[in-house]
Symmetry: D2
Subunit: 123 residues, 4 copies
């Protein structure tokens, strides 16, 4: 109860997601193709909250209480499906992130990337 | 080094993502609107690996070594942007997931949802 | 009234979309960034109808009357935003399609691509 | 040759797309599920050009020649898959758009919607 990011491991969240899916006998539907679609659909729902605001305005949108509660749900859906995808494919999320961030650090060296939003191919 | 899901808290991953962004002075670009777009774009890249396979075939696609390495990168990108979004909006991912899963358990009671992929409104 | 694909030019549809936007003074919101987000969000809504079905089952899903009516709306939304994007950027859709299909014909020569779903880089 | 929006019917574009698919015996892969995924993935690629720009800046991004050529290709891909989806499901795009725009006109009456980006539920 009352999980928080500071005290919750990724593995603990994965186990919760897996238990939920198994209790409902949903592994049969959770092929990587289907989970990637569901993840993409949820990411789009998160994005829909910000369609017509400017980036600056979007900071206020995300802080408005009624909206914030819905945004929290969409973010949860995104991460739940990402963890479900990791469960079904056996990928370790923390290891994937560590490896990708090491690669990103090479593509975006601090001195070249600082304060710039250009893609690494254009730095 | 050598992070794993069993020993890594969500907060630890969030801090790594935040440090990466801050070192590059990228918080100015990381408005919720922009991060939700980047997350959605990465989710689409993950999905692209499975466009033409059937769900069943997609399990094998995700297991094929060369493909698996790329899929791992796309999954990492998705979670990195989700954590970045959480950092910028101050949402606690574990708390959001716990709340959403409690709501989902009410929408999808085990006895009604078992073995069925229908939306809760059609159960 | 009663438009049909056989008798309607792309330009006619574009004009209808443009008139709708102008009457509401919405051009100020219709920057390419925002329209590309809206288009992507609508494409995700179309996709949501097929999350858990197999590709084969999805043909029946799209034929079921209640579902079909909603799918028709989502498809309309996608094309409306694509035409709105063309209006705001001044791109000619038919010309873009003709050029892209010529490029695709080179990437996917009939004799190599027939009956295969592989990406051109893997043919 | 040299198609333009002013002189090209939607049906003509649909026939071109259908011929391309049939020559390659690709109808077997073009289930609605798969086409909706491909459409969504292409919409995301279009969106990727505008991730870090503001809406205002995105107008200039879309006008920059090198970028514009790529954007034209992504827009073409989106519409090609939308037309392919219409071909496989037998939906008439112009009729769908006419019906949806009539519904949108009721949801967004000119006097209430003018100059406002709010969703119809919040007008």
């Amino acid at each position: 109860m009352a999980l928080t990011d500071s005290e919750t491991t990724v593995a603990h969240l994965r186990e919760r997601v897996l238990a939920f899916v198994r209790e409902r006998d949903w592994e049969q539907f959770h092929a990587p193709k289907n989970l990637s679609m569901a993840l993409s659909a949820e990411a789009a729902e998160l994005m829909e909250h910000f369609l017509w605001s400017t980036p600056e305005e979007s900071r206020a949108v995300a802080a408005e209480p009624a909206r914030r509660a819905k945004i929290a749900e969409e973010l949860a859906d995104v991460v739940i499906y990402a963890l479900g995808f990791a469960n079904m494919t056996g990928l370790d999320v923390a290891a994937c992130i560590e490896a990708k961030m090491a690669a990103n650090a090479l593509k975006y060296p601090v001195e070249k990337a600082r304060g710039r939003s250009a893609k690494y191919t254009e730095l």
